[in-house]
Symmetry: C2
Subunit: 359 residues, 2 copies
DNA sequence: ATATCCCTAGAATTCGATTGCGTGCATACG
DNA sequence: CGTATGCACGCAATCGAATTCTAGGGATAT
């Protein structure tokens, strides 16, 4: 007569039938039982088959590995995360997954992460300060090993606080004020915008240059600064009504162009803070019966694939998001895998003016 | 003289300075100590302030909430996931994040997830069977509450096994063989392709129709079937050399078009399995000096934004990924939040032929 | 034959939150 | 006055894996 409690404690080892009911997930204990060893031995074998702190006999190792294989054991990463070290998880926050500019970057990071056995949490902020903070909160609730951020509103203090509280490794997209050991990858957009403006002024003879910016964002600030520098040097004015605003999407570009073209003295060229808004400008110009670039020249930023395929093709300042994604991923995993503690690096990826039909 | 160990055990409650060293993450125990209650009480208060299994006094609730707020307590979701029920996490596998067709879908799911307090794990499979299996493996290692899948190679058995082992709720993209209680959202692409082919034959008088398929994928199979049905009814042949193959990207479309146009008797129209390949066709045709649609008409599939902006604009069969994303998300969260156990639904989203310049 | 050391592996603890069970106290009732 | 009812809350087990501590067994040396 075996007591009831004694009978229930070890779940019958014979229940190896996979199709029998909602087969509970198989844990290390199950593997241990099947291999006739303790759970800790299983852990030691599976986490470092060869070199462990304590030696394990060849026979035991094989028995454990075989049992794990038979039962289809998969370690529970939630448990592993909880216990301490690595979560095998990184998070990436971009402004908008639906913006072509970020696609390749996300892809790259994603691919490198998978190769390193990491999963990727994706979030988009829509350039919304609230959602950016929400993302930080999320990381504090669900710790990750690394973070790739495209901050538009977050301050260096916010990011420092995140690092302080979670110990997460951070890599930034954009020439942002970066705290401590944070690498940042960015395009040299001030210089690129300056160069493009100089080209418009000196090679193409434009004297009335408008700009569509996105107030409150750092990239926009820097690009406007580049333009101003070129205008200053050339002794050209920047009328207030030529400084239009949008919010990175196509429609806002259409609206801004509409306002610019109905001015008593419209500009001869519009530079936009990204290609989507530039495309919007072209659409509006054509709808109003203007020719591009005859009546209005347009210069974009990013060089999304579409820019090369619309009519007229768009002159734009190319960024290299794939290259940026590469730098982001390798910088992050350098710290994650190799444990690099190097001070924050500023990795600058050059831009390039791509001259097409629209200017 | 207080022993060292005694001094170290309780982290001095006075160390509320946030800038004092690597301030350890604050747990429920800390909150409990600050509020002078047990850790379980904190849990009960914070997880269900109003209706809990056991009653809690108003005073205690306030004290706990205040303490949590002061200490900036954030629950650890890894721990919560481990303990049991919800992980507050869903995973989404698409074929390619960089394909415009999926963007809106991802966005929608992402947005709905955030509104429900869920994070989203993203993975792309690149139509690679290996990576699809890798994704399933990943879910078994890191359990999630729900999954949105775009399976191209996974079998119903694979998906069943996943559900069996993890209890995850699943929603599929595509008219896939779906097991058990799995909803699937798909476009009616067989009918749409059939209709488009009929239109090409009867309204436009085409008799030499080529198709660029992607072998081994379900959507491609169905679309080819739709075309064949239309050809059969019209008594038209389908020469083997007109059945070209690609792999969903632009370059493969260019290559396929190159082969078709150098045939002794080239087709008068090419239908492609997606817009990217259709764009490739147009590029090649123009490079070979053919006019579109004069010498070669082209019909795509998806209606990505670019299709409306290239020259010539592309006639294509529109899918509505935003609508599909909505259905996906609401179907999934209906099961997650409301615990719906309804049998698998087949949610069909119609397609629509968009007639533009290329055909 | 007994002490010593090493090799191996089991037991116990930890991570942070959840939860079934139980207990102390107060009020109510017979 | 003694026991029943119930409210508010604490104890301790649990989730799955990693790690540290400890004990047993075998081999070798004295």
């Amino acid at each position: 007569m075996v007591p009831m409690t004694e009978m229930l404690k070890p779940e019958s080892p014979a229940s190896a039938e996979p199709s029998g009911g909602p087969s509970r997930t198989v844990t290390m204990r199950d593997v241990a039982r099947a291999a006739q060893v303790s759970q800790s031995t299983v852990s030691r074998v599976l986490s470092a088959p060869d070199s462990s702190a304590v030696a394990i006999s060849e026979d035991t190792i094989l028995r454990v590995q075989e049992a794990a294989r038979l039962l289809g054991y998969q370690p529970n990463l939630h448990a592993r995360s909880l216990r301490g070290q690595r979560t095998q998880l990184i998070a990436m926050m971009v402004a908008d997954i639906a913006n072509p500019y970020y696609h390749v970057m996300v892809r790259k990071v994603q691919d490198v992460a998978r190769k390193n056995g990491y999963d990727v949490l994706i979030a988009n902020s829509d350039h919304d300060p609230e959602l950016e903070r929400h993302f930080i909160q999320g990381i504090m609730r669900r710790p990750v090993d690394g973070v790739v951020l495209t901050p538009y509103h977050l301050s260096a203090a916010d990011i420092s606080a995140l690092i302080e509280r979670t110990g997460v490794r951070v890599v930034l997209v954009g020439q942002h004020l970066a705290p401590l050991g944070v690498d940042r990858v960015f395009a040299d957009d001030e210089t690129a915008t300056y160069d493009a403006a100089c080209w418009l002024i000196h090679e193409r003879g434009h004297r009335r240059i408008a700009y569509i910016s996105v107030p409150g964002t750092y990239p926009s600030k820097r690009r406007v600064a580049g333009l101003m520098r070129a205008l200053d040097e050339a002794g050209l004015p920047m009328p207030a009504e030529f400084l239009e605003t949008g919010d990175f999407n196509l429609e806002s570009g259409e609206l801004a162009a509409g306002r610019l073209l109905t001015l008593p003295q419209p500009p001869t060229v519009v530079m936009a803070c990204n290609d989507l808004m530039a495309l919007g400008c072209i659409t509006t110009a054509q709808r109003l019966g203007r020719t591009v670039p005859g009546d209005l020249a347009v210069v974009g930023f990013d060089d999304i694939p579409e820019a090369a395929r619309v009519s007229p093709t768009v002159t734009t300042i190319a960024q290299y998001p794939a290259e940026m994604g590469d730098h982001l991923a390798s910088a992050l995993f350098d710290r994650l895998i190799n444990g690099s503690m190097a001070p924050g690096r500023a990795i600058q990826v050059p831009c390039k003016l791509i001259i097409r039909e629209s200017a």
